[in-house]
Symmetry: C2
Subunit: 528 residues, 2 copies
């Protein structure tokens, strides 16, 4: 199983002729085979037409059928994990074990969303039975639920070649919700993308699903993505990546004659607030924990802790000194792409020049695509007066903000933009008195962590991976991880006065799908 | 209780000095007292600051407290129904009985949303308990639910002075979700708006809620609305009105540094598809039903049936002839404002000039603000070739589209833009064979009606009032009527590894709020 370098247009493949590109091994500094062909305009149009043609059949698939399809993809990923992980490790510079672990997470995610699709409770099915004798007017029968939006375009991320990519959370949740998917492959790991995409196509065929259920498009530049987002037959977009890239797509979608939702997960600094009691109880453990969270994957996590806020004290200074020593001794790692590494160098260099900002830890990076921790410190008042310091630097760089007191820590919290996470490290009895700070953090993040670290996103029913802008383009009303992710790809439809046999099965009297439904104001799995 | 003409800025009132305007009685053609003062920039800023200041307290209100507040507003509306209805009838030209009925609907809506807030199931509370022994990594405790967005701005509609206005569905659902509200009063019924607004302020005070929980702003023009939508402290917008006005606000909100959601309910033609069997069984009854739905409120309903699609036959021609006769004999009614009437005249005149379009019924309108039914007919192919014919004309004008056969009816359905509703009138055994047409209609509307009429929006758990663009700006992912309306004003927050006492009550182990929660994948009202 080797990548061929061609887009997957329904059951066919793209042709040569346009711009080409190659994957790059950032750890070894070499280009990889094969050459990848950008999709042509005609092929793009074909992919969208196929997806639109498949959409009505997808809207009628049962949850059980979608589950079967998602489980099959998951099984195929697991079955080919070794070869997939090997290619991903080459293309990203991430360790092989990390790639293997990410495949397991991705197949688990596919199965969880498939189970959610089969169970169907996410559909929010509601029934209000008729009251023909009601005065002054009879009340007709109303039944409503979520229905799929139609073709979804997914832009995978550079930093998760599986979990947020071709068969990642956006694709899995869109399939689970009943939508055909077109993935714009990330050029940082096209070979991994193609291999995964071919497994999806196999699953489409083995399940007897229509051509156009899935396509995977390659592009050396940005044009294919822009055309996809503006295509009238595309009904929603999922994106994981930079603020700049995400916002550009959000703006394109908003300017369409018919605006469509773009669920973009973008920039996040993931502040960590450390209270004195935490340092008094377990300073050394926090050095270990925070260091691990800040350096895992060469800091290339969307939940990387980019800001550390604490009050100045002898204990705090000792803590930062120990952390800085550990950071300085951290070995370099290859960043995902030369472009990301270039941005990391430029952004850290710019930050180093800011007035009132000092370097506290700088580890050595010598190889071509290598990067190592580079941390800064500043005073709270400097931070509050310099908006740029609240911006994300993608990579293993964070900023320590020194506060005079607890009130100044709250000022920092008030000043922050939205993040995916906000963390509070507190002593055993200290959190109980932090209601105001916790509320401030909850107002700025999709996930608030008490005595933990932001990296590590659980795929579960309760997870929220989103947050106020710019963490997410929709201001945190949805999540891109967890079973609530399905809801993003659906709209509400109400059926009034329908005879039982004409209704979708999910809304029929006997409740043949076994859903939890809200019937005349009460939840039940019983029929009516 | 008489309107004074001043904005309500928290517990204070606006001052004079800016542009002024008056309400107008369209039925009698006279200006009404008093003079209304546009809010100043300083007062607007004060209203927004007060709302932002009140937001944290609102976020912590229990559902029971919000319910108490909403019930109090409802009681006050009912208590003052006579005087409110009288003023509204003067300002809108709508019959007094309609205004009285609309107040009852509005107070019922407030109570239903209050009950939903108290019950709290809409919060979608989810708990995944910790698994400290899980391999390879322990699983932390995660608990998540919806939290209020913060200050919400509401733009009421011209055609529902109560149900979609100052204390209407957007305001009621935003309060129920825990958000302070600033209403930009509709200039077509400012006196009604002020009277209702003062009742809300009374309720704020009697419930001991903070100043800024509610403000009501008057403006002679559009500037106040534009500034509100762009204000950094405003977190979401509700709008009911024209496509032009709604889209302008949607675009402003999308262009903000931090984009915010605008839930705009806009244009809708509400197609009615009539099958041969329906006419064979009950042609005369359909004449009555469709005529009533198309002329109620002088056709000024967002769910007014603006398109009638049927197959040509002797029976169909006879049906249209009978309907046209009834339409032609319909007495005129006063439209809501001279501007709306001017647009109605201009839009119907433009449609009359379209190639292939013929007038089939024109009733007499003689008074200054009066309008009467003016219906058109055209062939399916003409309709399909002229995009403008699919546009809404606000008022008692509809277009009959003649099809050759069932396939052409489906072509029309495929061609339509989004609507709030789509209706299918079928014979007793005819609907069962219409799966494809029903799916096409469900793809184009938020509510599909079988053998009924589109006007009449039930306020219930199952109602959907929204739909694909341009019916709603969010493509039908939410509803502006029904208890799901609360979800629009909230975002997801997840708490990781929180001790029980530090969690919001809704997520605490004992389940003190008695919510339905998804605990480790199973729904339960029990504690853990």
């Amino acid at each position: 199983m080797k990548p061929a370098g061609a887009s997957l247009i329904g059951f066919g493949t793209g042709t040569a002729g346009g711009a080409t590109f190659r994957a790059f091994d950032p750890a070894r500094g070499v280009d990889l085979e094969p050459v990848f062909q950008s999709v042509s305009g005609t092929e793009l149009e074909q992919a969208v037409q196929l997806a639109a043609g498949a959409a009505p059949a997808w809207a009628k698939l049962s949850g059980a059928e979608r589950n079967k399809f998602l489980r099959l993809i998951a099984d195929k990923l697991d079955q080919h994990a070794a070869i997939l992980a090997e290619r991903a490790a080459q293309e990203t510079g991430l360790p092989l074990t990390r790639c293997t672990g990410e495949i397991a997470r991705t197949s688990g995610q596919l199965r969880l969303y498939g189970e959610a699709a089969q169970r169907g409770d996410w559909l929010d099915a509601r029934i209000e039975t008729a009251q023909p004798d009601r005065k002054p007017l009879p009340k007709p029968d109303h039944r409503s639920m979520l229905r799929p939006l139609g073709p979804v375009v997914v832009f995978g991320s550079s930093n998760f070649p599986f979990a947020y990519s071709v068969a990642g959370g956006d694709t899995a949740s869109a399939f689970a919700a009943g939508c055909p998917v077109i993935v714009k492959a990330h050029p940082a790991h096209p070979g991994t993308g193609e291999l995964v995409g071919r497994l999806i196509i196999e699953a489409v065929k083995e399940c007897g699903l229509p051509e156009g259920s899935f396509s995977l498009l390659f592009d050396a530049g940005f044009e294919v993505g822009q055309v996809l987002v503006q295509h009238p037959l595309v009904k929603a977009v999922g994106f994981t990546g930079s603020l700049k890239g995400g916002r550009a797509l959000v703006d394109l979608a908003a300017a369409r004659p018919e605006p469509i939702p773009v669920y973009a997960e973008m920039g996040s600094i993931n502040p960590v607030f450390i209270l004195p009691g935490a340092l008094a109880e377990r300073s050394a453990a926090i050095v270990e924990g925070l260091h691990a969270s800040a350096t895992v994957g060469v800091g290339q996590f969307c939940t990387n802790p980019g800001l550390v806020v604490l009050q100045r004290s002898a204990a705090a200074e000792q803590f930062v000194k120990a952390l800085a020593a550990k950071l300085t001794a951290t070995p370099e790692g290859a960043m995902l792409t030369p472009g990301i590494r270039k941005n990391y160098r430029a952004n850290t260099a710019a930050r180093a020049k800011q007035t009132g900002v000092k370097v506290i830890a700088e580890a050595k990076a010598a190889t071509a695509c290598g990067a190592a921790p580079l941390w800064f410190e500043t005073e709270a008042q400097t931070f509050l007066g310099n908006h740029g310091l609240a911006g994300e630097i993608f990579g293993p760089s964070s900023l320590v903000v020194w506060c005079r007191d607890a009130a100044e820590m709250r000022d920092i919290a008030r000043h922050l933009e939205g993040s995916l996470t906000a963390t509070l490290l507190a002593g055993a009895t200290e959190a109980a008195g932090q209601g105001e700070l916790i509320e401030l953090l909850a107002a700025k993040a999709g996930r608030v962590i008490l005595n933990g670290y932001p990296t590590g996103v659980e795929v579960s029913h309760a997870m929220v991976h989103g947050g106020p802008y710019p963490a997410a383009s929709d201001g945190g009303r949805s999540t891109s991880v967890g079973t609530r992710a399905l809801n993003r790809w659906a709209r509400l439809v109400c059926y009034q006065n329908f005879a039982d046999g004409v209704l979708p099965p999910e809304l029929q009297n006997a409740n043949p799908c076994g859903l939890q439904r809200l019937v005349n104001g009460e939840f039940t799995r019983a029929g009516i």
